[in-house]
Symmetry: C2
Subunit: 454 residues, 2 copies
């Protein structure tokens, strides 16, 4: 019996054309990671729920996909005692595994588990899918890839500088103009300290994070609601809104934070990153943005965010430094700094800008037309010679109508078609048609190679 | 509070060294697929259980990993009515998704779902993990990658010939000597027809499949138990054990199957595949093996299997032709032929033969020793120039003890170390140490480039 076909909501199939584009994105990012000494790892799609639970907040726990235990998962469960409203209780009993929710917790688990084999500082990258039971909507999926790079076990600010370089290099390769924003969490702490409200650091961070979206007046309302006084707000407002060049901002902040060790440290760290970048000619603008906060609580030093200049789509890359990646797994005091490229958004940006190279949606360079059993033997022989030279070719498998064969080449975006008829077979030559220009000529094998590889 | 770390049984982490080796395997296979015109697709890790169930037999259904529905999965479930022994019934209610079990059913679903966009014949490859709740044991995992290529929508035997070429090419690239076995399911049918026992075709196939493992006498016992007579067995025995060159086997079979259309067709198909391969110089032996049966019922034409000659490990690659990939999804009459490389076993073979190229476990070509803030600026500047030329380099991030820095380079298998001290800084030169030979010299930037890229 036949059945309807479909896939779970929020998931996607990727066709060859989409794969060509996605691989272009992944390969570009991988190549830059490689140049900077990052090495790949992979972790299992399934992690133990004990590894995942409690790491993403209450909301995150709800968004985990849980995997039913194999075999009789009800063994030992007293159904009579179950309250159907306490489904979460039951899920803890009948599921011990879940799909990974991000690549950071698996990295922390990996570092702890392999601490004795890992060479620190550990520069790893990881490009794998993650799963979240989010409500699917435009641009938000239940299965999507993350492209993370982190350096674990080093405090050096060289990594922050290299992260800026990598961002600059990746988007240059994509031909996408971006603005790279940098800030430092210690400056946010310095602000809170300066008004003697370190208790409100998280609220201030969350408030400032919304500046671009809701404007300074709404941020003010929110912060006053959280308990900031008008005067306290007026003290930090000029810092948040500080304008000018990076040097001007750093100079102004040096003065502001003269008396606060933490704020001062943040300014110094930004200064050092800029110093290391001095000899590097950035192709994109790097801008200190004191309103950049990034929601995640675990950042402790420099933070980064990247916006496309020519497409309005939100952040397409972000990251920062953290102090305690692995503490929750019993290995305290391991610092790190990391970055993550948003592949799906980058895909949309490249599509909107029409910036995918033509070559990424083309995998075959030429197709041999099939005129019958004898001709095809010569076609296969030539195809083998071309393939041994690295040229990808199709031999059309059936002696179908020419129109059908040419339609296939056209639909697959194959740039050249090769005819082998009676005459060509006799003289061991080839009819070569350029599918773009329509130009057709008879060529020798050497000419064929030169046309297909030029 | 800290907690124990671990991963679900039967799953694996892959370290950078393992990733280098695995990517070498995947990239080699991908490159050969590409040369033969195959294009990549990807499908979601999760499929609807309605897609997966009933496709892998009763045993397969049990081995599916099921994903608990999000939210209150117990809503509408009458717990009082549940029999704890009927856990499978409940799992059908609380789970609607499962992890994919192989790449063939998702391919069939993909072809039906995208039938209007796909250009047939559809040459696709897919390299993704699959999940099975099997009992884990040496070499058998609950998460593992499959590397499949299939041509959908074409009866042409060119594809069979090209599959043999791809197998030959992949293992030549790996430097692994293999024997490629080929047979045709129609010949097995012919055998059953010849003794007028088409009813026993499946039993004969399953019996013959075990020949290598249990020997001809045990196969005989098994077949007689299934209802074959002594005389019937004596009739097919010489076919199963047929020896000689491929040509001799084909000739003998032509005579045997003169009166049986199906057996004859099988012989002709094998002959045609060999004809198409005539101009192709195989580097490995292709052998018609009439005892090759391959368990899966859905094969209908040529079947393939590959064994390593220098390592005893079972089949490392296999595949065949099928007639009805998508019938179960309401799209009948779609033929195809496919192949699958066993990446995990190939890994073991390459490891045992010590055949991984040295370069695959090395990602960085040189490391800059860090002698302090001033020196490191010049190191970063030089690193940038090298990276822009495609050379991957590390800058050691801290001014740590030299021994520690060199140990890092050593442990990461980095072949060159670059020193920038006072003197080098002044003259803009570099101390270059070859970590393998221990040789050390002072070089200019141009000499550095030439050393690192040779």
């Amino acid at each position: 019996m036949s059945q309807k076909v479909g896939i779970p909501k929020g998931t996607r199939d990727f066709t060859p054309v989409e794969m060509g584009r996605r691989n272009y994105i992944f390969n570009t990012i991988k190549e830059v990671y490689r140049l900077y000494g990052f090495e790949p790892i992979e972790t299992p799609a399934m992690e133990l729920l004990s590894t995942l639970l409690g790491k993403y907040g209450e909301e995150g726990d709800k968004l985990l996909f849980r995997i039913l235990n194999s075999g009789n998962f009800l063994q030992g469960v007293d159904l009579a005692k179950l309250d159907p409203n306490k489904f979460q209780e039951l899920s803890g009993v009948i599921c011990e595994k879940g799909l990974r929710y991000d690549l950071t917790v698996p990295l922390a688990r990996f570092v702890v588990q392999h601490r004795d084999e890992i060479i620190f500082p550990f520069r790893r990258y990881q490009i794998q899918p993650v799963w979240r039971a989010d409500r699917p909507q435009k641009g938000r999926y239940r299965e999507f890839y993350q492209c993370d790079a982190d350096v674990i076990g080093s405090d050096s600010l060289i990594h922050e500088a290299e992260i800026v370089m990598m961002i600059d290099e990746v988007f240059s390769r994509f031909g996408v103009r971006v603005e790279i924003k940098i800030n430092n969490r210690k400056i946010l702490s310095g602000m809170a300290n300066r008004i003697n409200r370190p208790d409100l650091l998280t609220d201030i961070t969350i408030g400032i994070d919304k500046l671009e979206k809701i404007g300074i007046d709404n941020v003010k309302t929110e912060l006053l609601n959280k308990g900031l006084t008008e005067q306290e707000f007026q003290t930090i407002k000029p810092i948040i809104l500080l304008q000018g060049s990076n040097e001007e901002k750093l100079r102004a902040m040096s003065v502001m934070f003269e008396a606060d060790a933490e704020g001062k440290k943040g300014v110094e760290e930004l200064q050092q990153v800029l110093d290391i970048l001095r000899t590097y000619e950035l192709k994109n603008q790097l801008q200190i943005d004191l309103s950049l906060a990034r929601g995640l609580n675990y950042y402790t030093g420099c933070i980064f965010e990247v916006k496309a200049l020519d497409v309005s789509i939100g952040s397409i890359c972000g990251g920062g430094r953290y102090d305690n990646l692995t503490g929750v797994f019993g290995m305290p005091g391991v610092p790190g700094v990391g970055i993550s490229f948003g592949a799906d958004r980058i895909y949309d940006v490249l599509e909107q800008l029409n910036s995918f190279p033509e070559s990424v949606s083309r995998s075959v360079q030429a197709m041999f037309v099939n005129f019958g059993a004898n001709e095809v033997i010569f076609a296969v022989e030539t195809a083998t010679r071309l393939r041994r030279m690295g040229v990808a070719v199709d031999v059309y498998p059936e002696n179908a109508k020419l129109k059908k064969q040419l339609n296939y080449a056209d639909a697959k975006n194959i740039p050249f078609v090769i005819f082998i008829g009676d005459q060509e077979l006799k003289t061991r030559s080839y009819g070569l048609k350029n599918m773009v220009t329509g130009e057709q000529q008879t060529v020798s094998f050497e000419q064929l190679v030169s046309k297909l590889t030029q």
